[in-house]
């Protein structure tokens, strides 16, 4: 029985890690510019398509180059997002920003079909169906890769935030953009960098999850929603919250699907989310809203 449990936990953590990576993107953008990027999941999808559809399938690059190339392209895409989607609505009320990102979502979903056709793509990835045996249970090597990447990412990110000048500038911009400008920080550039980084995170998530499912134009929607839910659970705006929220959500879905009901797992998970929104919108790590006019 423990074998099964190990499998469930690891697959849950792996999916959760993917949610966490996407949730991180939400959090960074939210902290920096106060908008929620409803298209984040579709950026994940774009990353998967670019890595798989273009670089691997069309140009037949080795997987690692495909990954690297995709990350570079996603960074450029992120800057484009900042310029064309965020910038025009930066002073408008929340509704506008949400709608703008939903417009972007529509563009991305249809755009990939335009370029790569309606058929889903398959991607064996670096490990294909290979499995390893851990604690007596067989689990996909890909899961371990995902978890390893998450850990590496978090360490690298912490390092960047703490020890580099640009990391400090990013944190300052996120906390108070105008004050950051008073320090001589060119916040427009920093914001573009944050968007680029968030897009890279999304692309990375797409590349990691592609071998587990098909790469299709609608894969982004559910991921978006789940990552969003992870942010809420963990506390919107909190980086540890995004991480924990993602992993917890992944575990809930995995364990819940088996032990409670696989049919109703989404209803349960999102019913839970609904309840959190009503009763404790600040999530686990968030600050209860104390409004001051």
């Amino acid at each position: 029985m423990t074998q099964l449990l190990v499998q469930l936990i690891l697959s849950g953590l792996a999916m959760g890690a993917v949610y966490a990576l996407v949730a991180l993107g939400y959090t960074l953008i939210w902290n920096a510019v106060g908008i929620v990027n409803f298209a984040q999941g579709d950026v994940v999808m774009l990353g998967a398509f670019v890595a798989v559809g273009a670089l691997t399938n069309m140009f037949h690059l080795p997987i690692i180059l495909g990954l690297g190339g995709m990350l570079v392209l996603m960074a450029i895409f992120g800057v484009a997002m900042a310029l064309l989607v965020y910038y025009p609505v930066r002073n408008a009320p929340q509704l506008s920003a949400i709608v703008a990102t939903l417009g972007l979502s529509m563009m991305l979903q249809n755009g990939v079909v335009l370029v790569w056709g309606p058929e889903p793509l398959s991607f064996t990835g670096p490990f294909g169906n290979a499995t390893v045996t851990l604690l007596g249970a067989k689990i996909y090597t890909q899961y371990l890769l995902i978890l390893a990447v998450l850990v590496l990412m978090m360490v690298a990110q912490e390092g960047m935030f703490r020890f580099t000048s640009i990391g400090r500038a990013m944190r300052a911009t996120a906390q108070d953009a105008e004050a950051a400008r008073l320090m001589g920080i060119r916040t427009n550039r920093v914001i573009a960098i944050i968007f680029a980084y968030a897009a890279m995170l999304a692309g990375l998530a797409g590349w990691l999850v592609a071998p587990l499912f098909y790469v299709s134009s609608d894969m982004g929607g559910k991921v978006s929603l789940d990552a969003f839910a992870a942010c809420i659970l963990g506390g919107f705006g909190s980086i540890p919250g995004a991480l924990i929220g993602g992993l917890v959500l992944g575990l809930i879905e995995s364990l819940g699907a088996f032990y409670i009901s696989s049919e109703y797992i989404d209803v349960i998970a999102f019913g839970l989310l609904f309840a959190v929104l009503i009763f404790r919108p600040e999530g686990i790590f968030g600050e209860p809203q104390m409004e001051r006019p």
Partner: protein, 326 residues
């Protein structure tokens, strides 16, 4: 503020246009395109409903697909249990409306992305239940052989029925917009705190707007049953909710005419440009961004501004959203 006379003239004009369409269209369009128009009219009803809560009320609701589905399934199930069509229709719409209230009440305090997510969660839960409660709903296969009003697949008579329903929905929306109720909702949208300070019951208004959007959504669902004669869950999936939002935005937030324009652009044009469909929707998405950032009031707003220059009438369009932050 539109005067009573002008409002009446506008409504009469709408009736005339509707009748004209009813007479002309069946002569020029084949069955296939009549069906497209039928679907478009259903989308108009959905967009009008979403416009209530999103455009007039300024509340981001992503639940419209759920109300669409609730109305459709409620009707089909009720009729399957022997209820006569008119009773089932009213029952289904009422059922949807009640669920609108049940959604609107707990989310009273939520705004912005929290509200968006809560309504999206609702839409997801509803669309999952449509599949899961298969004893009732037929599961993933949906329900077939719905009797409706006996016109399923009969696109021309359905056109008349749908035009009539759409006209009522449209008239209702316009009358609401120009009534004191509409004025209050504008206050609610423009500045919630100021609205409270002058004694407006903002809680009732928010719930009422959700109910209105649910009633419209439910009615659209009932119409869909009548038109198709069969329903399946993917038509009402939560991902479809974004299309209604794009219709309302492109047409113009807060404009009944805009809802019509948006639905038409979303439904009709891609049919003519079949082979360019994906490209069209990429462009549609871009238009959503451009409209929300630069063109307050959407396409209807642009048209209204032209109209205003000629006649100096007032509209209820959401003003430049950045101006609202006064």
């Amino acid at each position: 503020m539109m005067s009573g006379r002008r409002l009446l003239a506008f409504l009469v004009a709408s009736i005339i246009v509707t009748v004209a369409i009813a007479l002309v269209l069946p002569q020029v369009l084949g069955i296939y395109y009549l069906h497209v128009v039928d679907v478009m009219l259903i989308n108009v009803i959905l967009a009008l409903g979403l416009n209530m809560v999103l455009g007039f009320g300024g509340q981001i609701s992503l639940a419209q697909s759920a109300f669409f589905g609730l109305g459709a399934y409620a009707f089909a199930i009720m009729q399957a249990h022997g209820w006569p069509a008119p009773v089932a229709a009213i029952g289904a719409v009422a059922f949807s409306g009640i669920l609108g209230a049940l959604l609107g009440w707990p989310v009273l305090r939520l705004r912005g992305h929290y509200l968006a997510l809560a309504t999206l969660a609702f839409a997801l839960i509803v669309s999952e239940l449509m599949v899961n409660l298969d004893m009732l709903t037929g599961g993933a296969n949906g329900m077939m052989q719905i009797e409706g009003v006996g016109l399923a697949g009969n696109n021309q008579p359905m056109l008349y029925v749908l035009l009539a329903v759409t006209l009522v929905a449209f008239a209702g929306s316009v009358i609401f917009a120009y009534s004191p109720m509409g004025l209050r909702v504008r206050a609610f949208r423009d500045d919630l705190i100021a609205a409270q300070a002058v004694g407006l019951n903002v809680k009732a208004m928010k719930i009422g707007l959700f109910v209105a959007s649910a009633v419209y959504g439910g009615a659209a669902g009932v119409c869909y049953c009548w038109l198709q004669g069969y329903i399946s869950p993917d038509v009402f999936g939560w991902q479809t909710t974004f299309s209604y939002l794009s219709m309302v935005v492109v047409g113009g937030l807060g404009s009944s005419v805009g809802a019509v324009i948006g639905a038409a652009l979303y439904t009709l044009v891609p049919e003519w440009l079949r082979f360019l469909q994906e490209a069209y929707f990429v462009m549609f998405g871009a238009v959503v961004i451009i409209v929300i950032a630069l063109v307050p009031g959407g396409l209807a707003g642009l048209g209204a501004r032209l109209f205003k220059r000629l006649t100096r009438a007032r509209s209820t369009d959401a003003r430049s959203l950045s101006e609202q932050e006064a």
